[in-house]
Amino acid sequence: LLSACGGVEVRDGGGDGASKDASGPLKLAVVPKAVGADYWNTVKAGAECAAQRAGDVTVQWDGVTAETDVEGQVNLIQNFVTKKVDGIVYAATDSSALAPATDQALAAKIPVAMIDSGTSPQPSSVPLFATDNRASATEAAKLLAKELGPGNHDVALVEFQPGSQTNTERVDGFKAGLAQFPNLKLVGQQPSKSDVNEARRVTENILTANPNLKGIFAANEPSVLGAAQAIQAAGKSGKVVIIGWDAAPDEVAGLRSGQISALVVQNPFKMGYFGVDKMVKHLRDKAPLASADTGVTFVTKENIDTAEIKAVLEPSCANPPVQ
């Protein structure tokens, strides 16, 4: 406890999350970074699948409307703590900002599991089920280099929300990857604000300014869709390599039609599934919570029809991509 000024203390969770006895029905809060994207809906599907399989578990799915609403998410977690749900599974919009919220939950003896993005510091009792954004983005840069082949090429980056942590990780990772390829020159970097129209607009303008553009890395679903549309509208389909992120239906369609060269696909279903599944086991069987990498897949036209990729792209509770 902190006692800087006399009588004033920082509210704080001290104890470890030794969970209460919970053999009956369980109520879990599952909180994405933001509602409203295909990616998070897949997380939701995974969570609900695990809940259904475990039986007698209800998932309360709620989130803020924009990933930038960090304070809103803090409030939301607090409100779930107040509500005394049995466990909280969530993706932190900001690693540092949400750390106190996690502490509060633990102090109230509510166990927490993180999905997609953890907090820093991350208490030892809180697991993280996620992929490594940075490493995957570096891999995306390598894919782009491979697609473009030797020779000097202009490339551009369509990011989504400057200042949000995921965005920073992907941008940093991509740039780190690019650094390994001196023949690739980053000539444009603009944000889509996670809006397809905006992504299309900035891509159009980047294309105008850089007629020789050869490759684009678009860092999330709306960015990819907008970039692909801009390139198609400019009549440059196939001439500009797009490496995308996520796997919304139209992205997959674009991959099939050759507009998009490769997609970095995480396994959001697995994140949601693991989050709920491990949490339930922890609550009912006192199983310890341990982090796990949910893995990332690079989907191209070649491997798109393999069973393994299919399971990731079209996850269903009948055939969950969770091994």
């Binding site: 129209n197 299309r200 303008n205």
Partner: protein
């Protein structure tokens, strides 16, 4: 005879009056237009890619939706109102339009009709809230904004409406004689509304209500009906804009148009509309919309990062309005 005396109803006086009216209007749009031209010339020199048919058409198509919705906003602003719900309503219209095609298999035309209908209904709701329930426009449309966005998410389950046929793109990406279809629609809308506002009784009432609602009421104008009419017409345009936006990205986006209201209000105010009602013209609004679009386009062409872009947009907004105010003051006090 002194100039201060009334030069009653002669033919010559009429034409002179008309000319003066034109000139004084032109002046009020002068600064925004000047800023537009200056920026245009500067960009032409600064970037070899700026003054190309492709880029100009791109700018036109990119600005079409903003311009159409800013036109709607201008009508509302003239009545001393404000419409914060444009973004939500455009998203709702686009999403429902897209679902009409995807789920019911209807044509693009039917989808556009649905989108326009959704906009009209939202406008009717806004209008009734303002006139019948007497809720101030800011709050009425803030509520519609919130409710509308919630509905979009509930209807779509927070997933974009994808899997549309290519024909769906016609409205946003089609061309007619090499000119983007969206641009043609924008021009038609702008000219139509400008005509409506300046030449018809409906327009006269719109300005009158914004200038002095009580005077309008006492003059026997059915202000409830007319004000509602303005909101409905604005809603129609917002629905159309939302449909074009959806068509441009070939999908219904539940997240479309967040904070769109600020852009379109800025366009209207840069173009000379007053938030205190009674003033505003479509030409000015269109100029304002293009001014903002040009700044954004130029920033990307010159590879200015989004961060500096925001600073520059802010500075230009200040500058455009400052010089406009300055000019008007000078004009009023010095002649």
């Amino acid at each position: 005879m002194s100039t201060a005396e009334a030069s009653a109803g002669t033919q010559r006086g009429d034409i002179a009056d008309w000319l003066r009216e034109r000139v004084s209007h032109a002046v009020s749009e002068f600064t925004a237009a000047t800023a537009l031209v200056v920026l245009f010339v500067a960009l032409t020199f600064a970037s070899p890619y700026f003054l190309t048919a492709d880029n100009l058409f791109n700018i036109g198509a990119q600005t079409a939706v903003i311009a159409i919705i800013a036109t709607a906003q201008t009508m509302v602003i003239i009545t001393k109102g404000i419409d914060l719900s444009v973004g939500s309503v455009a998203a709702l219209a686009g999403v429902l339009g897209a679902m009409t095609v995807r789920d019911l298999g209807f044509s693009l035309l039917a989808a556009t009709a649905v989108a326009i209908g959704v906009g009209a209904l939202a406008g009717l709701l806004n209008g009734l809230l303002v006139t019948a329930a007497r809720i101030p426009p800011f709050i009425a449309t803030l509520g519609t904004m919130s409710v509308g966005r919630g509905l979009v998410f509930i209807i779509t389950g927070a997933v974009g409406v994808y899997g549309l046929p290519r024909s769906f793109q016609l409205l946003g990406n089609g061309e007619i004689l090499g000119i983007p279809f969206a641009v043609v629609i924008t021009v038609l809308v702008a000219v139509g509304v400008a005509f409506l506002l300046s030449q018809t009784r409906f327009g006269q009432y719109t300005y009158a209500m914004g200038s002095n609602l009580e005077a309008a009421r006492r003059s026997g104008i059915r202000v409830g009906r007319h004000l509602t009419g303005v909101y409905v017409l604005a809603g129609v345009l917002v629905g159309l804009g939302g449909m074009i936006a959806a068509s441009r990205v070939n999908s219904g986006q539940p997240n479309y148009g967040i904070s769109l209201e600020l852009d379109v209000i800025a366009a209207a105010v840069i173009g000379g509309a007053s938030l205190f009602g009674g003033q505003g013209r479509i030409v000015g609004t269109i100029i304002g919309a293009f001014l903002i679009a040009l700044v954004r386009n130029g920033a990307v062409l010159l590879d200015i990062s989004i961060h500096y872009q925001q600073v520059i947009v802010g500075l230009i907004i200040w500058a455009a309005v400052y010089f406009d105010q300055y000019r008007r003051r000078r004009l009023e006090s010095r002649g």
